[in-house]
Subunit: 411 residues, 2 copies
Amino acid sequence: MNVEIITIGDELLLGQVVDTNSAWMGAELAKEGFRVHGITSIGDEADEIKEAISRLLQRADIVLITGGLGPTNDDITLQTLCEFFGIGMVFSETVYKDVERFLSGRAGVMNELNRNQAMVPAEATVISNTVGTAPITWFERNGKVLVSMPGVPSEMKQVMSAEIIPRLKAHFKTPSLQHRHIIISGYTESALALKLKEWEDALPSYLKLAYLPQIGIMRLRLTATLDDQKELSRVLDDEIEKIKPILGDAIFAFEDVTPEVVIGRLLRDKKLTLATAESCTGGYIAHLITSVAGSSDYFKGSVVAYTNDIKVNLLSVSEDDIATYGAVSQTVVEQMAHGARERLKADVAAATSGVAGPTGGTAEKPVGMVWIAVATPDKVVSQCFQFGQFRDRNIVRSAIAALAMLKKEIG
Amino acid sequence: MNVEIITIGDELLLGQVVDTNSAWMGAELAKEGFRVHGITSIGDEADEIKEAISRLLQRADIVLITGGLGPTNDDITLQTLCEFFGIGMVFSETVYKDVERFLSGRAGVMNELNRNQAMVPAEATVISNTVGTAPITWFERNGKVLVSMPGVPSEMKQVMSAEIIPRLKAHFKTPSLQHRHIIISGYTESALALKLKEWEDALPSYLKLAYLPQIGIMRLRLTATLDDQKELSRVLDDEIEKIKPILGDAIFAFEDVTPEVVIGRLLRDKKLTLATAESCTGGYIAHLITSVAGSSDYFKGSVVAYTNDIKVNLLSVSEDDIATYGAVSQTVVEQMAHGARERLKADVAAATSGVAGPTGGTAEKPVGMVWIAVATPDKVVSQCFQFGQFRDRNIVRSAIAALAMLKKEIG
């Protein structure tokens, strides 16, 4: 089933908001065998919206639209859809009550702008929005489905998972499709491609391999369609087995999960607790770890030490060693990891100290140079990395490298 | 000048990578008076790519393409462009040398896949990629411009800023366009719209107002085109002056900057240092602050205290008070802020303690309830917020609310 996504909003075109909805929808739909063929972002302009709907309804079975449903004047999606389909709008008592209930639950007050949000298309299925005030509308025309959803990610996600995907599955028959993912750290795309060339060349033709680079990690995706699901599963498992000895230690996971989820599971399984001591990562490792629900079961905390003083007082780093070797050094990062374990009473700890940039580099310690250490009950290991020139990327790469070192030590 | 952006890659449609390029490009282009009219994401399929180029070259003056230039087999953008324009590919010694130089600088090794990246279109301008190995190609046809760039954000950004935008400005004459931004915290979209209704209704017709909601903040954008730039600037300034008394304290900034940049500037101007003590935000405030280059000038560090033990030992919170009032309480969050100031030796400190969710809530302290405190040399202020049910949003909203409270105290 071909899906086209349309995201509506001037803010997307002016770059004031990043469209994260499409990626999330694409991933969720793919799991169910629906394939997104294109994503189109356009402004809050009636003609643009009509042109896109008209063109995309030709080539797709399903058109999913997000955005342009707010209570303000610049939001015109629903009126435009009604014009396109040649239908009127009616006041919905049900939607009005939904909005009222939602706002009262949040101590909000119903106002005339919210009242407008209860105006819905006359000939369409209106789906209840349980987490916001924008209406959700489902149109069926000539066997095709068009859905209009809110652009607020949390509202879109809730209604997609609870209502839209189940309804689409009931309405369409989805093809057989399976994915396998391998998450790898420490390789560039071309080095990995060379390493895997022999294996990749021998893949059966109905298997498709894609390299999905992310900052700090490479995700490989093996996709296949075959009528026999059982046989397909066996073939994919076989290929995954073949890749294991080729990549060895570089493999982070055999499924599409984030490094912080992998680390969380490992800590939970091994009944270990974690602490971090962060200089150049500035709290980003702690943020990644705590972005996982339930992380308080295994995460103790972090000391973000942007000054030498904090390294000395809160992480028990030797003041003399900082003076002698500098904050960005093997001995200091090892003492930070050791100190975090002791002072935050954790089983294992990771520490970072480096030059995030864009300034602060020297000939000896250039921008992008980062020391990372991991302390376990038995030992402290450390490694020096040379990343690039971009501050934001250096922070992310340092954090991912720290998680990869953690995995190696406790995995 | 109408711009259309095409982002290419199966990973975008399968949702494995979020397209952040388009938003960045849209924002940078808007600053220079180029307007993005649409963003189209398609897969690595020759027919799809040709269809999109053909259609978008009709309606746009400029088509900017990112992605599909990697060294692996699934990347076909450049070959497809050559087929579309009916031109051949040639080996470029210059590009080969660029790739070689780039890889040698990163201790990389030139391999045959990288060698393929030196194959470029015969009739096009090849622009040097100084931060990666993918070629950048500029086509001119019938007065229109089409550019093919790498999908890796850091490479795209570098070449857009250094080469593409200057070349586009030289090639096209851009219209007069000005924006003003106002960043506001603590309002919902509809409440803000009602508050501003009178002012908005009185706006001259050549001024356009847009509400750009983000998690935790609302960005207002006032856009205008007028031939007389000086007059336009005066009109915009007048409208901004009118809005000040209406919104008062809720205004975070009068330009399109992030809260962490505003706080950084304030701290620098007032010669103050900052520390944070984070429970439910898990290091996210520290990450925001340290994502700003130069933040080591004013940021001391953070204690991420996911356990009561750390709150007591590293932030000097009273163990008895935690037992009596619970970790999520006014007295504990105030002690955390106070403790962070003292122990991390900062002039001001912000602290958070709340229930991020999705579990851990009680009737008395439900998911989304967050206490935030700010300590200055004179006093400690605190406030209780009730956010929503989503962990990721609660973390961001708590962090932004903490920055807003900081601004109120030191601004």
